[in-house]
């Protein structure tokens, strides 16, 4: 009888150790995946990427060109952060600023001396229009 009790206790202990081990591994991997996902889709990274992309597009463009840029991921993030669609891109002088949250923003300048306007497209809603009006 005593022998049987000890045997059951050992089995129980091994099972508990395995469960704890697996649970901790799952927690560990989940935290890592969440961290990687957040880093890859963070406002800071997207702001930099879009600001530089738009600056290069403007540098390569000529007057009367109209550029349509799909910004679905940026717009979703901006909406989540309580920012209006028309507040995402601001072009002042020869600098473009992309903001996807109240606290952040990224500015990059371009060398093409053109008058540029940027506004969200009506349809499809996730596009932004960058219009090169004329040389200054």
């Amino acid at each position: 009888m005593v022998f049987f009790f000890i045997k059951m206790n050992k089995k129980g202990a091994i099972l508990l150790e395995n469960v704890v081990f697996i649970v901790l591994n799952i927690v560990f991997i989940s935290i890592l995946v969440l961290f990687l996902f957040r880093q890859g889709n963070g406002a800071v990274l997207l702001e930099q990427s879009y600001a530089k992309n738009i600056a290069l597009l403007v540098d390569a463009a000529r007057p009367v060109m109209e550029l349509k840029l799909n910004m679905a991921d940026a717009m979703d993030l901006a909406e989540k952060n309580g920012l209006k669609r028309d507040e995402i891109i601001k072009i002042e002088g020869n600098s473009v600023t992309v903001r996807l949250s109240d606290k952040s923003g990224y500015t990059y300048s371009f060398f093409n001396d053109v008058d540029v306007t940027a506004y969200p497209d009506i349809y499809p809603e996730k596009n932004y229009i960058i219009k090169i009006n004329n040389y200054k």
């Binding site: 961290f35 880093q39 020869n94 500015t107 990059y108 200054k136």
Partner: protein, 176 residues
């Protein structure tokens, strides 16, 4: 005193297991932080675009702009005048100093030693980076890009045009 050995085996959640977990997590966090913390370096593309814009301004359809070379004679221009002619702007509210430098040299094909006309604009301090990077490219220095092309003037004289474009903007393109 009686010694009781631990018979639970390898699966015991030990200090070593936690140590390995922390090391692995630390390494992954560090790698991700370095990877995403490094800014995108677009200076190479920027300098390519700058050279293209200048080339389009100097020569269109294989003929040199008559405001730059006319009747075989180069028309001297200041950097500011050239930038205005080519619709370029190097000043920005983002930077205290100009972050670009350009140099355009016109050569006769028979005399590649002497320039017929030289035009430069922007901040010439950045051009020193080009000599330092002749053998090996250094990320933290300005990005230099040079291209040549061939064109004709209005009286069919031939020219080789060399364009050097230097883009600094180090703080926004390289992790310092």
């Amino acid at each position: 005193m009686k010694y009781i050995p631990n018979k639970r085996g390898d699966k015991v959640i030990s200090v070593y297991w936690f140590a390995i977990l922390i090391i692995v997590a630390g390494a992954i966090f560090a790698m991700v932080y370095i990877f995403y913390g490094t800014p995108y370096d677009i200076r190479e593309t920027e300098s390519d675009l700058l050279i293209n814009q200048i080339a389009n301004c100097i020569s269109y359809g294989g003929r040199i702009n008559t405001d730059i070379i006319s009747n075989g004679e180069g028309i001297d221009k200041t950097g500011k005048e050239f930038l205005e002619e080519c619709h370029l702007i190097f000043n920005s509210s983002e930077w205290k100093d100009e972050q670009y430098y350009i140099k355009v040299d016109f050569y006769k094909p028979e005399d590649l030693e002497n320039t017929l006309l030289e035009i430069d604009a922007g901040d010439n301090r950045w051009v020193t980076s080009c000599a330092l990077q002749e053998n090996k490219e250094e990320e933290r220095l300005s990005k230099c890009n040079e291209k040549k092309f061939y064109s004709l003037d209005d009286v069919n004289n031939q020219y080789i045009i060399k364009i050097l474009a230097v883009v600094r903007k180090t703080e926004k393109n390289v992790q310092l």
